[in-house]
Symmetry: C2
Subunit: 340 residues, 2 copies
């Protein structure tokens, strides 16, 4: 089958690899209907994370179940499914508390690679959610978004305790940050300040519910948020970048007692204990437990309550995956969908 392989920074190729087979009785094999390129795929693409050997890429997916292992009970051949980017048993104490992305049996789908025609899904019952109803093209791309970027933005908003009466600041205008805006809006936030200096992303932020846009960054960005909030800072801040500057901006933009939800994959970040101590913020984040939110998100998508799939501003055949990486790297695309 065809699959995307990264050979080194900037070097992405589509190659023939063996079609996956069932390994554990709890596995399923899906035919991937669509996958996508993630902001986190750019870390190795840009040489910021090492690429030690040619690596399969991709961790987001929707698809149709082709085979199930002997221990799979809920998921059946022929089901149209969405799954999280982290496979989880959904039965351990961590999963039951809603942290499936830190399941004691977790398998990162990135280690398997879903930018491919087929994918093995560990813990199929605990990872996949079946979709029923009419899957229109709009809903299809939104379901794909649910697999990571929507679920991650949603988790960030929940971790930041976005809700009624709250002012929410969003650091990062990639797909996750934009969908954090959508999530904050859905969760009833009163005011949502998107921090962005790109017109196309600002427009999408407004469409998703942003009430204000701040173009300033760093200390100036913090000062702008403070000024807009009576000197106090935001109640809730979503961090969707993962750099030192973005984390500091998020923490400093938040009032004491407020909440920072951080979901940008952390790269080279070091937090000063004393600054954190004195900030008085709540800090929570990490790889989003998308599985916790999937049933609700699928429901909102299938009833057309939300349309997160509009973050995909480019759709390519898997054969053109390299173009998609380039477009995202050069910020010509917010999020690229790969079809098969």
């Amino acid at each position: 089958m065809r699959a995307v392989i990264m050979h080194g920074p900037g070097d992405v190729r589509v190659e023939d690899v063996p079609t996956p087979e069932l390994v554990e009785p709890t596995d399923a094999i899906i035919r991937v209907d669509a996958a996508c390129i993630c902001g986190s795929d750019l870390w190795p693409y840009r040489g910021i994370s090492p690429v030690k050997r040619p690596s399969r890429m991709g961790h987001e997916y929707i698809g149709v179940v082709e085979q199930v292992g002997s221990a799979v009970r809920d998921i059946r051949v022929g089901d149209f499914v969405v799954g999280s980017f982290m496979a989880s048993d959904n039965t351990c104490e961590i999963c039951r508390a809603g942290y499936q992305s830190r399941c004691i049996h977790v398998v990162g789908m990135g280690s398997i690679g879903t930018q491919a025609e087929y994918a093995r899904i560990p813990w199929a019952d605990g990872t996949l959610v079946k979709v029923t109803g009419d899957i229109t093209p709009e809903r299809r791309r939104s379901l794909l978004a649910a697999s990571d970027v929507l679920g991650t933005g949603w988790f960030a908003a929940v971790a930041a305790e976005a809700g009624p009466g709250k002012t929410v600041a969003v650091v990062g205008d990639g797909a996750v940050g934009l969908l954090g805006v959508l999530a904050a809006s859905q969760l009833g936030a009163e005011r949502i300040i998107a921090m962005s200096r790109h017109a196309d992303r600002q427009a999408l932020a407004r469409r998703f519910g942003a009430t204000d846009i701040v173009e300033a960054r760093g200390d100036a960005g913090v000062a702008a948020i403070k000024e807009m909030t009576g000197g106090y800072g935001a109640h809730s801040t979503i961090e969707a970048v993962g750099t030192q500057e973005a984390m500091q901006q998020a923490i400093r933009s938040t009032r004491a007692g407020g909440h920072v939800g951080f979901v940008g994959v952390s790269h080279g970040v070091s937090l000063d204990g004393q600054e954190l101590f004195l900030s008085g913020v709540h800090l929570h984040g990490g790889p989003a437990p998308v599985r916790r939110f999937l049933p609700d998100l699928i429901d909102r998508i299938m009833t057309d309550e939300i349309d997160p799939g509009v973050v995909f501003d480019q759709t390519l055949s898997i054969d053109d995956a390299a173009d998609g990486y380039r477009a995202m790297d050069e910020r010509r695309a917010i999020k690229v969908m790969l079809e098969f």
Copy 2:
């Protein structure tokens, strides 16, 4: 009046200083009934925090109101009062959200110095709470504990979301850690693991409600907590030290989705962003908003529901303050009460 002055590391003297006067109309002057030496006073005493000039010491206090400014409404001359170690207006948005220690008008009482016969209390109405009823010697020392160590341990337990069904680990066996045990117990925690290797502190931890004691520290301490919790880690961890090792131990002892309440004044701590990201814990702490908890704590003390004052294992006249610092530095005393 007599007051404690730190001249440099290990050099604490009692000297005559001017008696304080009202400065702002929102001030009160109290005659200090008792003060105490805080674990945080040991940072400069040990030369870990710089002592740039001779400094007034102390931020914990109970006392009787001697004078009030013209704008003080609720507190009256003659009231017996307990106040937080951070003076707060208790009316700003931050205060109203329960974060009085980060009030926009906050004044740290350490900058005023309560190890003295009299003290000026800024924002008297927002800082002080009047005590009514029979103040027995036991209740008196417990009220003094409420001013910081009890309130701080309580905040740590609340920040760590200690409660029914939870396993709580406590890093640090100073007065704050021990009162964190008490708080966790009062909040209904199912299991409380005190990390201590001192027999006297272990005994006090058990008296306050600890169900288990772990003597191991660092990686071995983390391994012990994991082993006691089915491999998952504690649901809630209280950090009451402030060092790099203690913070790491706290974060690593906590399961994904769990809560770390950190109240040890942070010294030289640097948190790796990626480790925090992958830990999946909630992190919250800082200078405790004692004022939030004071009315409830005073009520529990005056009804003899709790007896936090037993953390004071030495009581000295203010004239012997230097002996008190030495005893705490050498860990011969858990907490020293100073009388006038």
